[in-house]
Symmetry: C2
């Protein structure tokens, strides 16, 4: 019997690499999808490619998005500066400038389109509501609402097939995510989470993403393998 297919959102970061490993461990045939959306740095897409190859995905597509043209985010708008801190305790409760408008909705919509073409009924996304930066589209209630909408949106759903949107990391700490990834053999040296890396992909060690990730490795008694000098 052919294995069931799953579409997995793959950014090249730590969370999505772990999510891909979880989908693989669940026995799915893997279809990875990444996005080129006017990121300041394209190095994370190189990371996504290495991770996809190392995970033995059946196909990896990189979709070109026009999202940057709308403006409004430090991740795509070079006129805005990525917020920097010296420790994780300085990360504020406000939604930061690095928020990209409706990003996960756009990404998941593409995943849904591809899933329908592939005949896949499972989509995996590595969003996390706990050790995150306050993005609304990383919360459990958002994920459930997208799944509900998706099950009314497609020909496949109308024909009686139930689509499942898996967000296995959603309530885990960064430490728990890394622990599970290490159990599944994820090579985190291949991942990049930094919002503002150097020219060779070196993490800045001061953005929200770098600090949360370092804390997660620390909780496992480890150093972030990408922080090796």
């Amino acid at each position: 019997m052919a294995r069931k297919k799953a579409v997995v959102l793959l950014s090249g970061g730590l969370d999505s690499a772990t999510c891909l490993a979880i989908a693989k461990d669940a026995g799915f045939e893997l279809y990875a999808i990444s996005f080129r959306y006017g990121q300041r740095h394209a190095i994370e897409l190189d990371c996504a490619k290495s991770i996809a190859i190392a995970s033995g995905v059946s196909k990896h597509v990189i979709v070109n998005l026009d999202l940057g043209g709308f403006g409004g985010s430090a991740l795509t708008d070079t006129a805005l500066q990525v917020p920097k801190h010296d420790s994780v305790s300085e990360i504020g409760g406000e939604i930061p400038l690095t928020y990209v408008p409706a990003r996960n909705t756009v990404f998941l919509s593409y995943a849904l389109a591809w899933a329908e073409v592939l005949g896949a009924l499972d989509i995996y996304v590595g969003v996390n509501a706990l050790d995150y930066s306050g993005y609304p589209d990383c919360r459990p209630e958002y994920i459930r609402a997208f799944e509900e909408m998706a099950n009314l949106a497609t020909k496949s759903a109308v024909e009686g097939n139930r689509l499942v949107l898996h967000a296995p990391l959603i309530l885990w700490t960064k430490g728990q995510i890394i622990r599970r990834g290490l159990e599944l053999g994820v090579d985190y040296s291949k991942t990049l989470s930094c919002y503002d890396p150097g020219p060779l992909g070196e993490p800045c060690r001061h953005c929200d993403s770098c600090l949360l990730r370092a804390k997660g490795f620390e909780e496992n008694g480890l150093l972030d393998p990408t922080w090796v000098d």
Copy 2:
């Protein structure tokens, strides 16, 4: 006081042209969004441009989508043939090949992203559940589910602003849509609805879309202005 902004999905067809006129009549400042998604014919985008200009929109963006790369639709895949009929009664109950996977979900996601950047809380979409071709993402329950999801997705929603997804045509017949559009002064000779137009944008007069549209004009005692020889 500044007028409230609305993002309006504009395909260049009859329904979205009418929808734009309805949003204008409601007093909104108009932001029109169209998509280049590997359509076989790009003439509908020229129609969208003319309609946007004639309606005095503040801005019209055409977003480039990569959707065609997924395959699976006669509208984007030249290996599949657009279904043709001699009369509207021949249009079957099945979802036709012209269905594009998750298309409205992808389109609305972009509209949501732009709305957030603009600070707009209103999105208009000209979907229609009655005289349509059986697309699941044209039904009222789908529209409500997308609105629900959108109100959990964005920074703006988290800050307490309620986004409204307007689908004013959703339960109208094609005849009713045209009647309202004529009252509002829509110039239907500028619109193109055909799935398979000739090289100069002439409607084929046999696809589902041409036949449904002709019936709508007939109900108003008129000939489709684009059918003039």
